[in-house]
Symmetry: C2
Subunit: 322 residues, 2 copies
């Protein structure tokens, strides 16, 4: 029976397109283009914490890379290269082959070279580190939001949380809505084209991985500003219709993680350009609130005029990483 | 009690010296110098596989980074930046503080910026990814060895294996020799200055992490050559004197891993320049054999004229990764 080393080599060695030296030596060699900064992000996905140990390996392979791609999208960077360190409990070729299939499907979808890695035996743990390029000075960080900026989110955050609740049995979804929620959870689409389109427009940005309001708090912290989120402007209609529970839809949209939509701020005069960008990309962009000068103050504004702090609403994840 | 996120932030955020954007955003931003290639390596260290779970965290922190630095040294690269993903079983501040102390001691010793990472809860697993710079075209890969080249190794490989045997109770060492073996095992010194000094001289190189002969087989495979190793030329005297067993010294030197010395080939006319380089660095360099045209054939040559294949000697690790 081949060792996991042989299996990894068999399934993980594919031609690299923009790499000087890929898998097989002590280190890989790459060259960012002239005038480019390199954006780097690492994520560790652990069985039992980030995914069920019996998760379909093909979907897991896609997601392992996609969540890292999303980190680069959130900087406005073009993903280019990835290394993958993996700790595997056994040399299970069928599992490795399906995992590689999903991982490379994502790599090919975003033109990313897999340039190296490391394999070891032990509790299942997947740790990609991803590299992307961005013209010097054009990265969109968390720290550039200014009072008066509009706050935007892409797509329909909340589907992944509802999909997870469905899998865990606390919610019963069906039909196309169920499928869309499971797809959001299992095969998230990193918003690379949107990230690139927001260069020179967005003043601050991150991806919604831990929940919209919790992630928004990072922008407030890094930018030294506050925000008001208009609950009536959140993209809740499809969620509420699909799960039949408006309160749960609100909770999923504002506190559910794992959708990897982009949350960003932009000067108010960019409003129409952003709507046009969303149209061009076939990805709805929603203006959901505005940035204020009240540093660290985050308010949910309801249609009846009430304003609430999400902290008072007992959001579990709010500020977890803050 | 602070979360592990807060603890990591407290102990792992230190000023970065040659980084555009370090810890805290979706990605870090760096800029290799003009005309530089970027060398990238990732390693995953797993409790129970690569180290004992009760290993002193300060030494573990040093070694976690040092083994990655060694991969860059083995390319002739200058280490510059590192990201660290860590899976920790508990938010144990004393452990994290000591681990960070060792990790940053190594980072400072080699002027490396710690620019990002990820933390999660689960089985202990440490995964650094390291980046270094090397002038375009000057990287020393595994593939450049040519027949007639001399084969060299730095230092005294084998100490780490004897130190491990001492800790495991299969060997009793004492005094300064025991200390030197434990230091080799627990606080390996990546040979960065040697790697830089070998640019333009060495034709192929790697670091001895899995055992000298097993690692040598990678050079043979990548370069399409063979090698003869003269056992009388191996740096065995100190090992044999220290452990009182010449056969065990030979085994440790040729098949023991974890020393992170450099194994390299160089054209024969470089012989004197290499001895002078070793002198200048205070690090003995040993010419231990030569490269032959017999692709894939590795022979141990004894003083009495006998020649053996290491495979026939039953070396466990020989070809493990090959």
């Amino acid at each position: 029976m081949p060792s996991e080393f042989a299996l990894i080599r068999r399934h993980f060695t594919r031609p690299a397109r923009h790499t000087d030296l890929a898998v097989g030596d002590d280190a890989a060699l790459i060259r960012p283009g002239p005038g480019m900064q390199l954006a780097i992000s690492t994520d560790m996905l652990v069985a039992g914490t980030h995914f069920f140990a019996d998760t379909d390996p093909e979907g897991l392979g896609w997601k392992t890379l996609a969540v890292n791609v999303s980190d680069l999208a959130a900087m406005g960077a073009t993903p280019r290269w990835v290394v993958l360190a993996a700790c595997l409990p056994a040399a299970d070729e069928a599992w490795i082959a399906r995992f590689a299939q999903g991982f490379f499907a994502c790599a090919e979808a975003f033109d990313i070279d897999v340039i190296g890695g490391d394999t070891t035996r032990g509790p299942l743990n997947l740790c990609p580190t991803i590299f992307g390029e961005i013209p010097l000075g054009q990265a969109i960080t968390r720290g550039g939001a200014r009072p008066g900026d509009e706050l935007w989110v892409s797509g329909t955050p909340g589907r992944a949380a509802l999909g997870l609740a469905h899998l865990q049995g606390s919610l019963a979804l069906d039909g196309a809505f169920r499928d869309s929620c499971l797809k959001a959870l299992q095969r998230p689409q990193p918003r690379v084209a949107l990230g690139l389109g927001l260069r020179g427009i967005a003043s601050a940005m991150l991806d919604v991985s831990d929940g919209l309001l919790g992630d928004l708090s990072h922008i407030l912290e890094h930018s030294g500003v506050g925000a008001e989120v208009r609950t009536a402007a959140l993209p809740l209609a499809a969620l509420a219709a699909g799960c039949g529970d408006p309160a749960r839809a609100l909770q999923a949209c504002t506190a559910g993680g794992d959708d990897y939509e982009l949350l960003f701020t932009a000067p108010a005069p960019c409003h129409d350009a952003l709507l046009a960008l969303g149209e061009r990309l076939g990805l709805p962009l929603h203006p959901i609130g505005r940035i204020t000068a009240h540093s660290g103050v985050l308010l949910l504004c309801h249609p009846d005029g009430r304003q609430e702090s999400p902290r008072a609403l007992g959001y579990d994840h709010f500020g977890r990483n803050a």
